[in-house]
Amino acid sequence: MDLKELKALLRLMEGNDVEELEVEEGGRRVRIRRRTAAMPMTAPAVLPAAAGARSATAAAAPVALPAAEGAGLIPVESPMVGTFYRAPAPGAEPYVKEGNLVEKGTVLCIIEAMKLMNEIEAEVRGRIAKILVENAQPVEFGQTLFLLEPA
């Protein structure tokens, strides 16, 4: 089950006002429980959990993440709790888009916490493979924001 399928499942749930969905496939079981529209990131649970993997990855990370990491993609994780913004101001161009090449130090996004805007920078050089959160979405500590393909 990859990220695309998970996202499709989530859209399906939202579209049909389904609160909880459990899917089993190939020995892996996923249970997704929707909270309010404002908090979609509260944790999809992975059952059975490999305890080591759970404590290493952020609880809010989508299930497919370990597979993605295995493919060599580097996660950019939120260092704080706040609201994610793709651009420096409403209406402005986003800092980055999928496919962009970024350098170490390139500003990728803003996380607003307590009325303070914090610029989040890339730690490595790479290409933005995936943006996992939406503009104005609340994010928690450790939540994966981007997947970078090292370059």
Binding site: A38, A43, S55, A58, M80, Q143
Partner: protein
């Protein structure tokens, strides 16, 4: 009433607060570290926000992240539980500044009672008995000797800046003051970076008896009786009970009234606990006030029928307190055993995965716990696994029920202190209601 409360804590107390919120129809937000992703409080809350990596200093103590979590979830009030930020006056101030209600006392009360020496001075001005002692740290041997004569012996030399048994020396005669000062001062400097020490009368074998108080914003205040918490090891409470076998109704009234005087003088609101030491002659002395809900609050809930956590939330929401002093009736007797993830002989921590959990039940048994089968107790926080609470129509029935509960309880995969509690519950001193703060020491030295 609030529509949403964030619980700035974890473990069994977070579960406790979530339960109270559920009953009040309030939505709940849990915060958690990466080590607590599978924790029960996260599962039970309506929403959950990860606030950091496992260490408490980087998660449960991170004020900014907790406030951020409150902001993005539209939280109206924060319950701090016990420990962590519960008695952090700065945190209470930050909440107030952000327009979020802190479910507890005003920050100034936390500040005042947090300074232990200042709290005692204040209690003394209220006519509440305080152990004779030096009001300020002593500066030299002469001053110490002079004060020692006034205080009387035995006395204890204590670090001003610390606690937890460090920087303390008991002195039984004047000749030993000099060396006692030197040793306590050196230990204090090493442990707390501050060599200042003060002197206080030492009670050789007191009981620890605390009074639960509740005050609302409109000046109404009551006490809900006492808890006897004498059964401790290294200043950590292990077993608590209410009523105390040592209290008479007259003494209870006097201590309750003294506790309320202290609380009012501190401008206190919401639930709090005033701690006293009680000597063998029925004299009580103010020690300190804890400006939070306590671990052992269920004991009071069982004998009074009052839900203390719901009361806290209601008071914080501005509701006038419905309870009156005459309406508080203590019925029967209650005990609580703190079951820790520790080996029962040497008390070394025993974190790990719970392979089997079966908690006791039946009449008069209550279990407050965040444990479940398969839960992995992380090594980063305290070792409390469960609180077993028993209530009966008298002390004998409560004891019988607790013995049954301890025998029924199964917690496997880790070591627990259940066998240790079973020992206590069989001990003649405990059964006779004659325990004191040195009971555990005596019991352990019997082998």
């Amino acid at each position: 009433m609030f529509s949403k409360i964030l619980i700035a804590n974890r473990g069994e107390i977070a579960v406790r607060v979530i339960r109270a919120c559920r009953e009040l129809g309030v939505r709940t937000v849990a915060v958690y570290s990466q080590a607590d992703a599978d924790a029960l409080h996260v599962q039970l809350a309506d929403e959950a926000v990860c606030i950091g990596p496992p260490p408490a200093s980087q998660s449960y103590l991170q004020i900014a992240r907790i406030m951020s979590a409150a902001e993005i979830t539209g939280t109206e009030a924060i319950h701090p539980g016990y420990g962590f930020l519960a008695e952090n006056a700065h945190f209470a101030e930050v909440c107030e500044a952000c327009g979020i209600r802190f479910i507890g006392p005003p920050s100034q009360s936390i500040q005042l009672m947090g300074d232990k020496a200042a709290a005692r001075r204040m209690a003394a001005t209220q006519g509440v008995p305080v152990l004779p002692g030096s009001q300020e740290p002593v500066h030299d041997l002469e001053e110490a000797q002079r004060i020692a004569e006034e205080i009387g012996f035995p006395l204890i030399i204590k670090a001003s800046a610390g606690g937890g048994g460090k920087g303390m020396r008991v002195v039984s005669e004047p000749e030993a003051i000099e060396s006692g000062l030197a040793m306590a001062g050196a230990e204090a400097a090493a442990a707390f970076g501050n060599a200042a020490v003060y002197l206080e009368r030492f009670l050789p074998d007191p009981r620890h008896v605390e009074i639960q108080v509740v005050l609302d914003a409109g000046g109404r205040g009551i006490h809900l009786g006492e808890r006897d918490c004498s059964i401790q090891r290294r200043h950590q409470k292990l077993l608590e009970e209410s009523p105390s076998p040592a209290l008479t109704p007259v003494l209870r009234g006097a201590m309750g009234e003294a506790a309320l005087r202290v609380a009012r003088a501190a401008g206190y609101q919401n639930a709090g606990t005033v701690e006293f030491l009680l000597d063998g002659d029925g004299h009580f002395y103010f020690m300190e006030m804890n400006t939070r809900i306590q671990v052992e609050h269920p004991v009071t809930e069982m004998v009074t029928g009052v839900d203390l956590v719901k009361t806290q939330i209601r008071i914080a929401a501005g509701e006038p307190m419905q309870l009156t002093q005459v309406g508080v009736i203590v019925q029967g007797h209650s005990l609580e055993c703190r079951i820790n993830a520790e080996d029962p002989d040497r008390f070394l921590p025993s974190p790990g995965k719970l392979s089997n959990v079966r908690f006791p039940g039946g009449p008069g048994i209550r279990v407050d716990s965040h444990a479940y089968v398969g839960y992995v107790i992380p090594p980063f926080y305290d070792s409390l696994v469960a609180k077993l609470i028993a209530h009966g129509h008298d002390r004998g029935e409560a004891i019988g029920r607790m013995q049954r509960a301890l025998d029924e309880a199964i917690v496997e995969g880790i070591q627990t202190t259940i066998p240790f509690h079973q020992k206590i519950l069989r001990h003649p001193e405990f059964l006779a209601g004659r325990t004191s703060t040195r009971f555990v020491e005596r019991m352990l030295s019997e082998h």
